[in-house]
Symmetry: C2
Subunit: 470 residues, 2 copies
């Protein structure tokens, strides 16, 4: 039995941020090569601190869904997963045994050699008859002085594609370092030029900066009077959103040190937690704001406030993904980075098979079944705020300066909107929903949403509508 | 059977604003002269639009809990109650038959001649041995050029107390008009001076402005070298918070035109609604976020998320007032001007007798039983937003300028936090909690909280943390 975990950045503000990870997880589930594909996030749920607990097997491969190596892949993710590793990740990744699970942590997908195929696929999308006679390729990277590796991967891909013989010439150009993208008319000689942005997703750079720096007006732009004669530029979509990234992820996972097809066993604690939950669900139960009702082998989930509403008065979905999409925003349309905020929207029902129920619950209240069961069986360890604060780096280092009063002030605003009981602040929770108290859900550690709010508080900016960084 | 209704201003921001009305309602209930004492508010719940529906009898006397006549007593309250009266209220009040109820609307308590006794009582509190030999009284009013009646009541009280012979001299002085309070050392000759502020409650004026203008340093201040010799000033607390205001209220109510001790009958619709609710409660039910459980003749109310929590893990109260005080603030300590916001705190239980249950529900979800029952029986009329907007005056006149998009934008922020379904915006609600859907509660008309937010939106100020006016 094997678990594949995809780690995304996520966002406290933008509900679309997790979209790419959702999509790859769905593609990989459809391939059926892993017994489960689980998602985890820095700024959404399940968090990096929770995600390993939510995996079903003792063999876990973790893929950072990032386009390049850097602060997140080398510092934040290994630290939050508790890998005991910091810094560059070697070829083949890092393997550890954590809580009885073998956890393999790989390089980010963007540095895998297979990305050359993704670049080629993107190029062919925009210019199907590209040819070695007349077509140049520009692999376009962001470039930065902060991490020397971030340009290396662009050069490697350019080199690999040059060797492939598909193009007359291949160039590596950058937005923020030399050789700059604006120099392309001097550098590139072929009459047809394909530009593939080596970026994780569409965004400000792919939609604004690059077209502006290159003088592009759309997918195809004709330059009649360039130094090397007339040229036509074909602007491809970013590599990071191409479906074939799923293949790269599978390669990364298979090449991880010690990976085997057999994998590990079912995690016993995980199995116990879900068996206990299933027993509960079969009787019908409430968890947080949700009501779960058995229906002849299937399970219906709806908002408990909607109990008794005729089914045809509600939007019905029959997949965990449908449930996820209906509950990602509150009734005012706002992103719900913390699923246990008491803002679960109403007006829907999900009808799920027993096999889909765990993933449905995972969408609704990520990690809640696992953590509540652990609390109920006295194996959930709380992490006090000072420990959480000390661990922070980068822009969050400053939360270490927060006074107890500031932490309490943020709790009053943030945690008062949440179902969970703050074990990390010394609050007691004698029973959980496993013992029949629907609203009783443990919070073993301050979440990143809370940490970000403490940072705002320390900066004197809380309450202002600013986009938080990192 | 007779109902007494006390109307307060209330506040969207300040949880203490309704405190004085709460207290008088409790005092008057204890006297037992009325079958019920109900509270209603401009900016809290039940609103002025709802309060008559919540009264149990067909004989209703409404007392505006204001210290003076003015915009609220002459314009806002009569309009919102639907009295069909605007402008000065005559001696004996205004009487109307509304929805089968006789409704008597009186002058505000502050203009009743009985206030002279309250002034005297306040004076005696601060100087028990006041005497006609050596004691002067200053009745201190706000004074304003906006309403000529507001100084008249001060002069009347001064005149009445002068005639009573308790004081050597009696003066009417004002903060904002002549004769100004700062002139007192020239005007007042007696060695002992009692100052009674004719104000509704302690506040900025009684705590800051008056002491500053008069040079007071505390309850007792000695002025050794005044023009008329040494003087000692005894500063009393404001009249509006004295317990004997309850007597004034009763006098006002008894003197209202057409008032009789027998009063009217039980309101049939009201009785039906509560009989239906009681039947529901006897089976155990959920209403909004609350769970109601019968317990051998008593009823326990708690947050539905707390179902199954051991009782000794919860704060237990046994009165409607206790329930009110536990649910006035959310878990973050914020005032809940709209009780159906989905922020009902957890951690408490109220155990109430059948007789107290209606008042308990009235504290928890004001007017919700009456309005939901009316909706269930097809007698609840929705008021569309344009009608509500057109009715507004004063600083709220500008909500008439709100575009449909602005109204929707405010709904997304405000109404998305509320349990209620906006009938006033055309939303449908086929069933209510009477039919077993806990979260199904009708909203027949935009509340004043919503109106205030629309005003902020139209002013371009919404989202800023400003204290809203009026």
């Amino acid at each position: 039995m094997r678990s594949l975990v995809l780690i995304g950045h996520g966002s406290h503000l933008n509900g679309e941020s997790a979209g790419a990870v959702y999509r790859y997880a769905e593609l990989l589930r459809a391939r059926g090569l892993y017994d489960e594909v689980v998602e985890g996030y820095w700024k959404e749920e399940p968090s990096l601190r929770q995600v390993l607990r939510t995996t079903r097997s003792t063999d876990v491969t973790v893929i950072p869904m990032f386009i390049s190596e850097g602060y997140f892949t080398e510092t934040v993710i290994p630290r939050e997963l508790g890998l005991g590793h910091q810094g560059p990740v070697p070829e083949g990744g890092v393997a550890r045994v954590l809580g009885g699970k073998t956890v393999r942590y790989t390089l980010p997908y963007g540095v895998h050699p297979g990305m050359a195929d993704v670049i080629l696929a993107r190029a062919r999308e925009v210019l199907p008859d590209l040819s070695a006679q007349d077509t140049a390729l520009i692999v376009l990277g962001h470039g930065t002085t902060r991490n020397e590796n971030s340009n290396r991967v662009i050069y490697c891909n350019a080199e690999q594609l040059r060797a492939s013989g598909h193009f007359a010439e291949v160039h590596a150009l950058f937005l923020d370092e030399d050789p700059k993208v604006g120099t392309w008319p001097e550098v590139v000689r072929s009459p047809r030029v394909v530009v593939v942005p080596f970026f994780a997703s569409e965004g400000w750079h792919t939609l604004e900066t690059i077209p502006e720096d290159m003088g592009l007006t759309g997918e195809v732009t004709v330059f009649p009077e360039n130094p090397h004669g007339p040229q036509t530029v074909y602007y491809a979509r970013p590599v990071g959103t191409h479906a074939s990234v799923a293949d790269v992820i599978l390669h990364l996972a298979e090449e991880a040190r010690g990976a085997s097809e057999r994998g590990g066993d079912e995690d016993r604690t995980h199995a116990e937690a879900w068996a206990a939950f299933l027993a509960l669900a079969r009787q019908g139960t409430r968890v947080g704001e949700a009501l779960i009702t058995p229906h002849g082998g299937l399970f219906e989930i709806r908002h408990a406030l909607d109990e008794g509403r005729p089914s045809d008065d509600l939007t019905t979905v029959v997949t965990p993904e449908g449930l996820r999409d209906l509950t990602r925003r509150d009734e005012g349309g706002h992103h719900r980075p913390v699923h246990t905020f008491r803002t679960l929207p109403r007006g829907w029902r999900a009808v799920l098979s027993e096999a889909d129920l765990p993933r449905g619950m995972h969408s609704l209240y990520p990690a809640v079944v696992e953590e509540s069961y652990a609390h109920q069986t006295h194996t959930l360890r709380a992490t006090p705020w000072p420990t959480t604060a000390r661990r922070q780096t980068g822009i969050y280092t400053k939360v270490q300066r927060a006074t107890p009063e500031q932490v309490e002030a943020v709790s009053r605003e943030v945690c008062s909107r949440c179902l969970k009981t703050r074990l990390w602040a010394g609050e007691k929770l004698p029973l959980t929903f496993f013992a029949g108290v629907p609203g009783a859900i443990p919070c073993p550690e301050a979440c990143t949403y809370f940490i970000a709010e403490v940072r705002e508080e320390v900066s004197g900016k809380r309450g202002q509508e600013t986009v938080s960084g990192e």
